[in-house]
């Protein structure tokens, strides 16, 4: 297995705790809520994994490079609003259109980070405000329309083995290969590992900033496209919780917030664990506000348990 040598192996080993966590949660839920393993619920789970998985993947790419993006939830909302207005007018063309709008949002962030040297945390918060305002102008309240045939085509009969599953698995596999075995991926980790060293090694750091925020914008918009098809409409606020959930999934997957470390398979496991936990809450009929509180606490716990390695080593 020499192709797994080096930093890839050490990054991959970081994904193990998240995989174990996902399995343990699945086991517990399976025991206490028998409906969990029904095909309908499994299909439902896959459908929930797809949008969060896309946003979390985008967030992970940004985090690998040592940046953070707080605008992905807003971009996702914008995408649903655009889909709900455009898909009836221009049909399938709405999808590339919306994805490139996501890229534009990412470029806006990159412009602030690269040209104005604004801290990514602050810049993406600003992007988030701008995007949210634009979204509410386009679609002030949930509504619009996405044709039901699109739902049938993409989600089919909500069976577990369908297009959504193939989509998310193939996107994560592509990301796994590109980040691990290409010079682009290596450079991405290098920037997150130590920006100044990367620069000294000839890396164009600004170009990498443009790349990661654009990729994240496109993936968040993709999540919005999927979400709008699922709810057959647009919702200007639906993406809000996804920003934190995506960061939480990445952290659960042992992605270092300081950058340079983590593996997308861990992120996927983190996404699955989060979706299972919230599915369990629903099956156990726990109040949604309580759910929000518990999710926040899980995030803090994840930070405590999964960030320790990195913090200790850089000290």
């Amino acid at each position: 297995m020499s192709w797994l040598n080096g930093s890839i192996r050490s990054n991959l080993s970081l994904a193990v705790p998240a995989l174990v966590l996902a399995l343990v949660v699945a086991l517990i839920v399976g025991i206490y809520a028998p409906t969990f393993l029904l095909a309908g619920n499994l299909g439902n789970l896959v459908n929930r994994v797809v949008p969060l998985g896309l946003v979390a993947l985008g967030e992970a790419v940004v985090l690998f490079a040592g940046r953070i993006d707080l605008s992905l939830g807003a971009i996702m909302s914008l995408a649903t609003a655009l889909m709900a207005t455009l898909s009836v007018q221009i049909g399938w063309l709405a999808i590339p259109e919306v994805l490139s709008d996501g890229a534009l949002c990412g470029l806006f962030t990159a412009a602030g980070v690269v040209l104005l040297r604004v801290n990514p945390l602050i810049m993406t918060l600003a992007t988030s405000a701008v995007v949210k305002g634009a979204t509410l102008l386009i679609l002030p309240s949930p509504g619009g329309e996405v044709d039901y045939t699109w739902y049938e085509m993409f989600f089919g009969m909500d069976e577990p083995l369908g297009l959504p599953l193939y989509l998310i698995v193939s996107i994560f596999l592509i990301a796994f290969v590109v980040l691990g075995w290409t010079r682009f991926g290596r450079t991405l980790y290098a920037v997150g590992s130590d920006e100044r060293s990367a620069y000294a090694n000839g890396v164009n750091v600004r170009l990498m900033d443009v790349a990661v925020f654009t990729i994240a914008g496109v993936l968040a918009a993709g999540a919005g496209v999927v979400m709008s098809i699922r709810i057959l409409s647009g919702d200007p606020l639906i993406g809000d919780p996804y920003t934190l959930d995506a960061i939480a999934a990445a952290v659960l997957g042992s992605v270092a917030l300081k950058g340079g470390r983590g593996n997308v398979l861990g992120v996927l496991a983190g996404v699955i664990a989060l979706v299972l936990i919230s599915n369990a809450f629903n099956l156990l009929e726990i109040d949604t506000n309580i759910q929000a509180i518990v999710k926040g606490l899980i995030f803090v716990l994840a930070l405590v348990f999964f960030m320790r390695g990195k913090a200790v080593e850089t000290a």
Binding site: S2, W3, L4, N5, G6, S7, I8, R9, S10, V177, G180, W181, T182, R183, R186, Y189, A190, G192, S193, D194, R196, S197, A198, A200, N201, G202, V203, G260, R261, E313, T314
Partner: protein, 507 residues
């Protein structure tokens, strides 16, 4: 030297604006030779090196490589002609393995265009073996020691089998033992016919490793001599126009009747076995040892950052709890850390604020520091310590390493301390700045201040101390009084109780 020169420079000059950094430098490097380039910070060493490595261009004069004209306009162009530069350890990527660091940006790829991790790590293992490095290629950069990072940096440069390898202060942050590994690699490269330009502040290494030494002073070559024709004194004279003995202050012997100022008994901390020592008023107590033998825990315990877990500490006969930096400072103990950038300085703040930080708390009025007092204090300190800066409002981050170190001193000396703890006070500092720091130690001891000097610089310890304790694995394995000082004896103790094996490596 009958063989034609590999590299020859004739009348090379370079200016930045009105500032003439190099003034007609001529020198040559023979194949298979180690050329040592020595000079104070700002003497033009790095400019010269970067011209040869292609980072700077636009110089006047002629450079020949292998008998052909040589004018690289980029590091890449220089590399293509067989000239490689190994930077200081700072460009290692901590989350990539040693092998991935070595091949970063030119990873071997398979037919599909994907990086071949197996081939990459095998190639790195072969390269390390070839260079004589005992280094696992799959260790992560962040887990490497300073010496290992330097090895990776050298391997990066040596990978392309350059005709000329330029090493910029590769040993600056290494212990004597680790530095020897680097010197061994240089020899290995020259045996194969390559030439090395070696830049170092450590004159012992220059004498030991240099086939030829050149000294730059203010952009002019002041010495160019082959092995045997130069020694430490000659180098220092050429660098600063003084001899080595002049750089240490003449201090009267500390009288045995001087009261004991500071005493630690059975002080124990993590990485430190119970140790006992004392220092008299006006005395200088040194701690020598190989890297990582308890120096850092000792320095941190004495500054109160990580307190002694057990044992007693007393100052002027009064017992003292060094429980926090504030307690230490309050009792009159000043500590200057080795990691100035992280523990000692705020790089983004101006000189005056860095100097006055904590120092002027006694001059505050209703908790407010009068800006005039800060300004006057900083102006006086800048003059006293001869800090080279545009003014006291310049950010510390823009100063050279030696000048940064000088900014730390006034803060602790605004109110003369009773005990001054110095941890590697001259690391990365040129001879001129070193002299200033040594002079200051002399002045302070004249005033009765006791100094504890923890250092890897043997000359500094011998030149300043009344007594030297040697640390090994967190314990004091020996102490030498002033009359017993000899490098060999200190080295013998530093190598550990058994000594023989380790001594062999050091020799």
């Amino acid at each position: 030297m009958a063989s034609p020169a590999l590299l020859s420079l004739t009348g090379v000059s370079k200016s930045f604006g009105a500032n003439k950094v190099l003034k007609g430098v001529s020198l040559s490097v023979q194949p298979g030779e180690v050329l040592c380039l020595v000079g104070e910070n700002g003497a033009g060493k790095s400019t010269l090196m970067h011209i040869i490595a292609g980072t700077f261009s636009g110089n006047s004069g002629e450079i020949m490589l292998d008998g052909a004209s040589y004018r690289p306009d980029s590091p890449k162009a220089a590399r293509e002609r067989g000239v490689a530069l190994a930077l200081q350890e700072t460009s290692i990527l901590p989350d990539l393995t040693a092998a991935e660091n070595v091949f970063f940006g030119s990873e071997p790829r398979n037919r599909l265009g994907f990086i071949d991790q197996g081939a990459l790590h095998r190639a790195a293992a072969a390269l390390f073996f070839d260079l004589g490095f005992a280094l696992q290629p799959d260790r992560l950069g962040g887990s490497l020691s300073a010496a290992e990072r330097q090895m990776v940096e050298i391997a990066k440069a040596a990978r392309l089998d350059p005709k000329l390898l330029i090493l910029d202060e590769p040993t600056a942050s290494l212990s004597a033992h680790e530095a020897n590994l680097v010197l061994a690699v240089m020899r290995r490269l020259t045996v194969r016919g390559g030439a090395v330009i070696f830049i170092s502040h450590r004159l012992d290494e220059v004498v030991a490793a240099g086939d030829r030494a050149v000294v730059l002073k203010d952009g002019v070559l002041t010495l160019d001599a082959v092995r045997g024709d130069f020694d430490r004194d000659a180098l220092v004279r050429a660098m600063v126009g003084r001899t080595l003995t002049d750089i240490f202050p003449a201090r009267p012997a500390v009288v045995e009747t001087n009261p004991i100022r500071f005493r630690v008994e059975d002080g124990q901390a993590k990485g430190l076995k119970p140790i006992s020592f004392f220092v008299r008023a006006g005395g200088v107590l040194g701690f020598a040892g190989l890297e990582g033998q308890g120096q850092r825990p000792l320095a941190r315990a004495l500054s109160g950052i990580t307190a002694f877990k057990s044992g007693t500490v007393s100052l002027d006969g009064q017992s003292l709890a060094l429980s926090s930096p504030a307690a230490a400072i309050g009792a009159g103990m000043a500590s200057i850390p080795d990691d100035r950038k992280h523990e000692g300085l705020a790089l983004d703040l101006p000189i005056k604020m860095n100097m006055s930080l904590f120092a002027l708390s006694r001059q505050t009025q209703w908790g407010v520091l009068p800006l005039r007092a800060e300004r006057e204090f900083a102006e006086a300190a800048r003059e006293r310590f001869m800090i080279r800066s545009t003014d006291i409002d310049q950010n510390v981050g823009q100063l050279s390493g030696g000048n940064q170190q000088k900014v730390v001193f006034p803060r602790w000396l605004a109110n003369t301390p009773k005990v001054l703890v110095l941890y590697e006070p001259t690391k990365g500092v040129d001879v001129g700045a070193k002299t200033e720091i040594y002079k200051l130690v002399g002045e302070l001891t004249d005033q009765g201040v006791s100094v504890i000097l923890i250092s890897a610089d043997m000359l500094e310890l011998i030149g300043l101390c009344d007594r030297i304790n040697v640390l090994y694995e967190g314990a004091i394995v020996g102490g030498l009084g002033h009359s017993e000082f000899a490098k060999e004896e200190i080295m013998r103790l530093a190598a550990g109780p058994v000594g023989e094996g380790a001594l062999h490596v050091l020799a």
